[in-house]
């Protein structure tokens, strides 16, 4: 191994080792520690925290987490595909302006963006009032406090993360191929599906990963716009940690979540090796 | 006088691939010397070793008698013009040119004077304050040349300097480059895969292939008297003929082509009867005529049928079937020839050439036939 390679690799690798790798491993250690009554981690070993995972409420929590994440990811990619297509076909001049216009709202603080939605979907807010006036919702229906609100706001916060990789892939796509497909008799939608989508599949995969994986650990959005029946694993981890002061139980849940996100991340690794 | 730049038994390997193989080459002071060859022939590796970006595994490189084999690039009195220009994008044109002199610690007045002189030489005085991105390709290349020349190198190394430019610009810059060479009198080592560039700019050319030099000589020697099938096929187009010597002579010998009878060949080396020989015969040396011509003893004529005609404007190319041979000939049109109709597809014609126009090859390899734009049929 060359000296110059170690010289440039060691600083970042050591940092990431200490602040990413070791902490992830510590999760699995703490999960087997006992809890102190005052809150905190005791000495010795205990299976209490891991056993707490057999809570009958957890399978439902897991299902909801996967469901909300999957629906959000599907919406994000479904909406981003035509947007990426549109951006890539625009003149460069318009493209860069539109791209900027899309990114700017996301330089507002994340918490504030979710807060803005909280107000927008408020029972006395403009959306609820309009829908009520059109009799699309009943007098007592709430827009906040349910899974739909969680999905809408999650789509809002994650959409740029889906648009950007898809746009990057679409920008490199040779649109002459679409003309060729049309020339060979494909209808526009068929050409889109059988030529464009395979052409940007790397972008779709990236979009899937950067939306789905972080979604699994979602916490702020369900906390602010969701209700009791739209809590996700992230909320339970925070609750175990901040309310119950039970670090080992929080660690056990985090460990389970880590194993859950590891799957999709390993897919990416294999795909990366192929490319 | 000793050579200015000398490669001595230089070998360079990359893993199992040998890029340059026991190569020896001398450059004389003041000449423009071209390394000509296809991509991957080792010419760029040789240039990079001269510049100091790469080091030979074996052999030495001498500059003016001094061994510079292991000298780092910043300590060599040679400079390079890169194919990609490699201009510093964050510096102005003036600062690009002044980069070397400033590093060498020239007094600021001299830096300024020399930079101005170079800007004038490459006709970019008006653009001195611009950044490279604001220049056209041709202008960038002139900056690259000025930036190298200002350091007064003993040898200027040019790595495919015109490859990124379009044809017309390439031709114009070639003329300018030649003029600059005449003015500064510095030795140029010019690497190119373009035979036209090499022919027009060089005092001497070395044709490289697979890490060795196939032939070194003046442009005319290389073209008119190729020593190997590679040189004959890589530079221009040619017909390869092979036959068996029937009568060996001092100056001219006779040789039998398969299915086609005997032809006269010019032999610059001693031949034995029964020896197998290979010949290169360039298309433009062959005259296509309708009538069986009256011949001198040193002339050849073979009978055939026109199979294909391609009109190029300045010339016309004919493919003529002669027995099992398919021979290419090229002719220019002259006023008087317009009176008679040109040979057409299917016409019976005679191909006529002088024995001096065919050239006996020292080395023949069958794979070189693939380099021809019109590979003959077996």
């Amino acid at each position: 191994m060359k000296k110059s390679e170690w010289g440039s690799t060691l600083p970042s690798l050591a940092w990431l080792g200490v602040f990413v790798l070791i902490p992830l491993l510590i999760i699995f250690v703490i999960a087997f520690r006992p809890t102190l009554p005052a809150g905190g981690v005791g000495e010795g070993w205990s299976l209490d925290a891991v056993r707490s995972l057999s809570d009958p409420a957890y399978p439902k929590l897991l299902g909801r987490t996967l469901g909300i994440s999957a629906v959000t990811t599907a919406f994000c990619i479904g909406i981003s595909l035509p947007v990426a297509f549109c951006l890539a076909r625009l003149a460069p001049h318009w493209r860069s302006r539109l791209l900027l216009l899309m990114v700017v709202p996301f330089w507002t603080n994340f918490v504030i963006r979710v807060f803005a939605w909280q107000q927008l979907l408020h029972a006395e807010g403009p959306v609820a009032r309009s829908l009520r006036a059109l009799h699309l919702i009943g007098e007592n229906d709430r827009l906040l406090g349910n899974s739909t609100a969680v999905v809408v706001v999650s789509v809002y916060t994650f959409l740029p993360f889906a648009i950007l990789p898809l746009f990057a892939a679409a920008e490199k796509f040779d649109f002459g191929l679409l003309d060729a497909a049309r020339d060979l008799g494909a209808k526009p939608f068929r050409a889109f599906c059988s030529v464009f989508l395979p052409g940007i599949r790397q972008g779709i995969l990236t979009a899937f990963l950067v939306v789905f994986v972080p979604m699994l650990g979602s916490y702020v959005v369900p906390d602010m716009v969701g209700g009791a029946d739209s809590q996700m694993i992230g909320n339970r981890i925070a609750q175990r940690n901040f309310n119950d002061r039970n670090l080992p139980a929080a660690a056990a849940l985090s460990g389970a979540l880590t194993l859950l996100v590891l799957g999709p991340m390993l897919i990416r690794r294999r795909k990366g090796a192929e490319a | 006088m000793p050579p200015l730049l000398r490669f001595e038994n230089v070998t360079r390997r990359f893993g199992s691939f040998t890029a340059v193989r026991e190569l020896t080459l001398d450059l004389e002071k003041g000449e423009t010397f071209s390394l000509l060859g296809p991509s991957g022939c080792g010419k760029t590796t040789l240039l990079r070793m001269a510049a100091g970006f790469d080091r030979p595994d074996e052999g030495r490189i001498l500059l003016d008698g001094r061994d510079i084999t292991h000298l780092p690039p910043d300590q060599r009195p040679v400079n390079t013009v890169f194919q990609s220009y490699a201009l510093f994008p964050h510096l102005s044109i003036r600062d690009n040119i002044a980069f070397g002199p400033k590093l060498k610690g020239w007094p600021s007045g001299e830096v300024r004077r020399e930079t101005d002189r170079m800007l004038e030489l490459v006709d970019l005085t008006d653009h001195a304050a611009k950044k490279p991105a604001q220049l056209s390709g041709g202008q960038k290349q002139r900056v690259a040349i000025a930036r190298a020349l200002v350091n007064k190198p003993q040898v200027l190394l040019l790595d495919e300097p015109l490859a990124a430019l379009d044809l017309k610009l390439r031709q114009r810059l070639l003329v300018e480059l030649d003029a600059i060479h005449d003015e500064v009198g510095i030795t140029f080592l010019y690497v190119t895969h373009d035979q036209g560039e090499a022919m027009s700019i060089s005092d001497r050319i070395a044709v490289m292939n697979q890490g060795i030099i196939e032939q070194t000589g003046k442009p005319a020697e290389i073209y008119e008297a190729p020593r190997s099938s590679f040189v004959a096929a890589f530079i221009g187009d040619t017909n390869f003929l092979d036959g068996t010597v029937t009568t060996a002579g001092d100056r001219f010998s006779r040789c039998a082509l398969e299915n086609l009878g005997e032809i006269v060949i010019d032999n610059d080396r001693t031949l034995r009867a029964g020896e197998r020989v290979h010949l290169s015969l360039r298309p433009e040396k062959i005259v296509v005529v309708r009538e069986n011509p009256a011949l001198s003893p040193e002339e050849n004529a073979i009978h055939g049928t026109v199979e294909d005609v391609i009109y190029f404007g300045s010339r016309t190319r004919y493919w003529v079937r002669c027995g099992c041979w398919r021979i290419c000939a090229e002719m220019q049109h002259r006023r008087y020839q317009l009176d008679e109709s040109l040979p057409q597809w299917g016409d019976a014609v005679w191909l006529r050439w002088h024995a001096n126009d065919g050239y006996l090859l020292d080395r023949y390899r069958e794979e070189d036939e693939a380099l021809l734009t019109f590979p003959g049929e077996a």
Binding site: C86, V111, E124, R268 | A51, F99
Partner: protein
């Protein structure tokens, strides 16, 4: 044949979707109504109230300190990482690359939780320092990827050209490589800065008592439903600053 209008229509709807909540927020910041979004007349009073809240100012100070430190440190670490990833191909770099990419997809809550457990296990008291360490960790990856992208477009011939013209390796790095990469490194640093300012989840896990950043303070104000209109005013102000910075940056880059 007319090209399908669906992509363009979707794009426009997405833009409306993006700006709708923000527009509502800006309008509400001028609404005299304290508790409901119903319009009760125009007012500046929420902005006036903003000046009275010193906790907001100190939280903003914390955020800026952390973001500055985190972006500077991650610029150094991210740039060396990008050089290593670009220059070398080896098993080590495969692993290095994986480690650099993990923070990009790891859910925030796992990163926050695992770092909290690290600090608790190591007995490190939670403070502004622990927040900064956490921020450097995810900023590093973003800087590394931005600089790596620049390196991929970097024509290393210019470094050879500098050497050819008499520069030592160190001079070539200082006079050519670094100035040419600087825009990329600064862009990475700017991204790191905004990510650090923006972060709520990780900060919430590793912050000590009393060391609030702007997002954690705003969050707790929202949770307690206190002075919501003041948050609107604050958000509008931040939005205005963001737009001003983006606009200025656009003008500057166009001139350069």
């Amino acid at each position: 044949m007319k090209p399908s209008r669906l992509p363009l229509v979707t794009t426009i709807l997405v833009l409306v979707f993006f700006y709708l909540p923000i527009a509502a927020l800006v309008i509400r910041s001028f609404n005299a109504s304290r508790y409901t979004p119903a319009w009760k007349g125009f007012t500046w009073k929420w902005y006036e109230r903003l000046w009275e809240r010193e906790d907001l100012l100190s939280a903003l100070g914390n955020s800026l300190k952390i973001a500055t430190a985190a972006s500077l440190l991650s610029m150094v670490l991210g740039t060396t990482a990008a050089f290593a990833l670009h220059r070398h191909r080896s098993r080590l770099q495969d692993f290095h690359s994986l480690m650099v990419r993990v923070p990009l997809v790891l859910p925030d809550i796992l990163m926050g939780m695992s770092l909290l457990l690290l600090f608790v296990s190591a007995g490190v008291p939670l403070s502004l320092i622990t927040i900064t360490l956490a921020h450097v960790t995810f900023c590093l990856s973003y800087v590394a990827l931005v600089v790596l992208a620049r390196l991929e477009d970097f024509d290393f011939n210019v470094v050879e050209a500098a050497r050819d013209l008499g520069a030592t390796p160190l001079q070539a790095f200082a006079k050519i490589t670094l100035p040419m990469l600087l825009p990329g490194i600064l862009a990475g640093g700017l991204l790191a800065f905004t990510l650090s300012i923006d972060d709520y989840v990780i900060t919430f896990f590793v912050k000590g008592p009393g060391s609030d950043t702007l997002p954690t303070l705003i969050y707790s104000m929202i949770k307690k439903s206190r002075e919501l209109p003041v948050i609107n005013a604050l958000s509008t102000l931040m939005l205005a600053i963001t737009f001003a910075v983006v606009f200025a940056a656009q003008r500057l880059t166009r001139k350069a």
